[in-house]
Amino acid sequence: MEKALELKNITKHFGSLIANDHIGLTLYKGEILSLLGENGSGKTTLMNMISGIYYPDEGQIFVDGKEVEIKSPKDAFDLHIGMIHQHFKLVDVFTAAENIVLGLEGEKGKLDKKAVHAAVKEIADRYGFEIDPNKKIYDMSVSEKQTVEIVKVLYRGANILILDEPTAVLTPQETNKLFAVMRNMKQDGKAIIIITHKLHEVLDVSDRVVVLRKGKYIGDVETKNASQQSLTDMMVGRAVSLNIDRPHYENQRDTLLVEHLTVRDKEGVKKLDDVTFTARGGEILGIAGIAGSGQRELLESIAGLQHLEEGSKITYINPEGKHIDVNGMDPLDIINNNILLSFVPEDRFGMGLVGGMDITKNVMLRTYRRGASPVLDRKYPLDLSNKIVNDLEVMTPDVNKTPIRKLSGGNVQKVLVGREIECHPTVLMTAYAVRGLDINTSYTIYNLLTEQKMQGVAVIYVGEDLDVLLELCDRLLVLCGGKVSGIVDARKITKEEVGLMMTKVGGGA
């Protein structure tokens, strides 16, 4: 096979940290290569050097056998390398076609709509995309936006495509479509690198897997000779158990009653519509749904961060059996009423943590009010931070100097989850608790949640990976467009059934 891209001895330092240490990698034409590694293993850094965002300190890059220098995204683009980022870079008020040609010089500065549409259609037909060139971005679903990003890169003539966690935001059905398209592109001779943390997808779509660990190249393996277990062991460097325990907790009791919960956004659109359910202590209640189906609003309503419509009712039942109305309370009222509610929000730095502060100051966010003194108690949060860092193996230079924003995603999440658990909650809500985390950290988090469940805590787990939801949770609440599509026993339902319920209330059955 012909080499599309070859890296030799690529090294990149950030200060004293070596993000990439003499990495060599070959990508062939007509191949899908999975790049696998834990958080902080250097995958994104490496891809950023290919796409011109970083410049390597050492090493050589060859494209089609010729040595090249990639100093800017424009250089990468001229070499027909295209990267599809996790966060889309599209102009909301433009149509798909306009976004696709954005920044390209048309003939005589004119935009030939017909020609663009024809070209877009040709690309869509060739690879099996579904795309409407006239649709505005703001009308599109996440998966449609992603399609636009990919077509944009192809329109510009990319032969090497890099996809950074493309499936993180897709439903199983959408993921399958994306994979079909990727296989078509492969048939056409394109070379594709995909970064993903989901091992079953790696096994499903790729031809070969390259594993990085702590900035070093560990090895590559033909996908047909690999298994989830072997890949995990390579990534982590030791054997890891990949089973999620689902013990049963005997003394379940109702802890949180949500009745007729309705929430509108600023524009008056209903984000939650008459949602009713009960969360039980000693159980993990999973919330499944396409991104933006009301998951965020649901958790924020319970946490006192949303304005509830008339008729909504949220009741907390404390361990003594007393019923307390939570609706109408703000987070401070909830704390003052001794309602032990912990919340790991989706947006870590936008809500759960203060990015510019060190671990200790983030840990004290929940407890700094304790005591009558107007002066902060520094000892308790310091001890607690050290405990969290030790218990959860948080990698950090220190607990009271480095801003938490500078830690890697997994470590940030460990601090956040650790803090919320240390509040000794009776209700623990988590939103996308493992998003962007490597497999080892993810399992740490799953175990922590199960541990909480076995202590009688009512755990509410909003997730996106259906395999995990079905393995981890006791019951599953499926949301569809803000409505409850169904509440099912997670032990007795299949992924496909849940997928259907996510797209249609009641699953269409």
Binding site: F14, G15, L17, Y55, E69, K71, A303, L305, D330, P331, L332, I334, I335, F343, P345, D347, F349, G350, M351, G352, L353, V354, G355, G356, M357, K361, M364, L365, R366, Y368, R369, P374, V375, L376, K406
Partner: protein, 362 residues
């Protein structure tokens, strides 16, 4: 060439960069001086130094001005820490000055001196707090733009001051208040140096003392108290603050009241300890200069003293070379501008690293 953010930099290296920047500024200025006015730059620099520290009196004046500037910057620190762009220090300071002058003019001789001082201080604080609270309240309730709001409040305060000046005119027709309690039965009443004893520069000594106390107090408040922590959380992320049960609206209002009160205290000091009069120039643009001071000091009150010292030194020096060499003031302003430019620019090199990518052809 490639620019990347520094992950960490040692304090020593950071100060080295700053020192190089000042040296670089002086060299560039030397060329400019020589090119424009054909003079020996060394002599000009010596003259600048003399302007700020040449005589005992000049030293005191420099210290005086730098303390007032520091005091305003300290007042801005809580608001800026909350990312609330209070550019209304000018007005808050004037309101404090008016309150102070009001008592000095109307109540001197009518109440014992300690009571008079308490009235002056308390009213300045209250008036300043209200002046700060107004934009804080509107921001909290309706999310108005605080930059425009505080700026507009300055003009209202200036008009208030004009009104007060015309009301308290002395002598009549002069369109100024004149030195308050200069002579007669109420001589020096309400001058802070007169509170306990009289003597050379006691006014300024009080000024230094009060400013230093404020610096320590605000540093402690922002670093070690629960309220200071809340301010930092709100400044970093309003949503996180709400999530943590902080009532963001209350924090906005409380902090702006504190910021306004502190800036008003600077106005109090400017009247009771420095000018002993009130005019629309009592703030004199220092409310804006203090913004630069607060930012360069990254909200640390002790660093603010250093930055204020530098800026005051440059001002005094510029005035001196203008008079010594018969230059017009613009030349000295060019010099101040270049020096500030270099200092601000040095922050870029402290935060970012510049690599020159070598093209490696073997």
């Amino acid at each position: 060439m490639h620019i990347s953010k520094r992950t960490n930099i040692s304090t020593g290296k950071a100060w080295l960069i700053r020192a190089i920047a000042i040296l670089g500024a002086l060299i560039v200025c030397a060329f400019v001086i020589f090119a424009i006015v054909k003079m020996n730059p060394i002599k000009v620099y010596i003259s600048m130094f003399n302007g700020a520290f040449g005589t005992n009196k000049r030293i005191w004046v420099t210290v005086r001005d730098l303390m007032i500037l520091t005091c305003i910057a300290i007042g801005l620190a809580p608001a800026f820490k909350m990312r609330f762009w209070n550019i209304g220090a000018e007005g808050q300071m004037l309101m404090g000055g008016i309150a102070t002058a009001f008592f000095m003019i109307n109540f001197a001789g009518k109440m014992p001196l300690p009571i008079l001082f308490i009235c002056m201080i308390v009213t300045s604080i209250v008036v300043g707090a209200i002046w700060g609270l107004i934009p804080g309240f509107f921001k909290a309730q309706w999310n108005t733009n605080e930059t425009l709001f505080t700026l507009m409040m300055n003009y209202i305060a200036i008009q208030f001051t004009s009104y007060a000046v015309s009301k308290w005119e002395n002598p009549p027709g002069s369109n100024s208040v004149g030195i308050i309690n200069r002579s007669g039965a109420t001589k020096n009443a309400g001058w802070i140096g007169n509170m306990f004893s009289k003597g050379y520069n006691v006014d300024y000594a009080w000024l230094v003392l009060i400013t230093l106390v404020l610096a320590v107090a605000v540093y402690y408040y922002l670093t070690y108290t629960k309220q200071g922590y809340e301010i930092a959380v709100v400044g970093d992320s309003e949503n996180t603050a709400r999530y943590a049960g902080i009532r963001v609206k209350n924090v906005y209002m409380r902090t702006m009241a504190i910021s306004g009160a502190l800036c008003a205290l600077a106005g109090f000091l400017a009247v009771t300890a420095v000018s002993h009069t009130i005019s629309t120039d009592t703030a004199g643009g220092r409310g804006f200069t203090a913004i630069i001071v607060a930012w360069l000091a990254k909200m640390n009150p002790f660093v603010m003293i250093l930055i204020s010292a530098l800026i005051t030194f440059l001002n005094k020096g510029a005035i001196q070379i203008a008079s010594d060499f018969g230059l017009n003031e613009y030349v000295s302003q060019i010099i101040t501008g270049i020096i500030l430019f270099f200092i601000l620019g040095s922050e870029f090199f402290i935060n970012y690293e510049v690599h020159f990518a070598k093209s490696h052809k073997e």
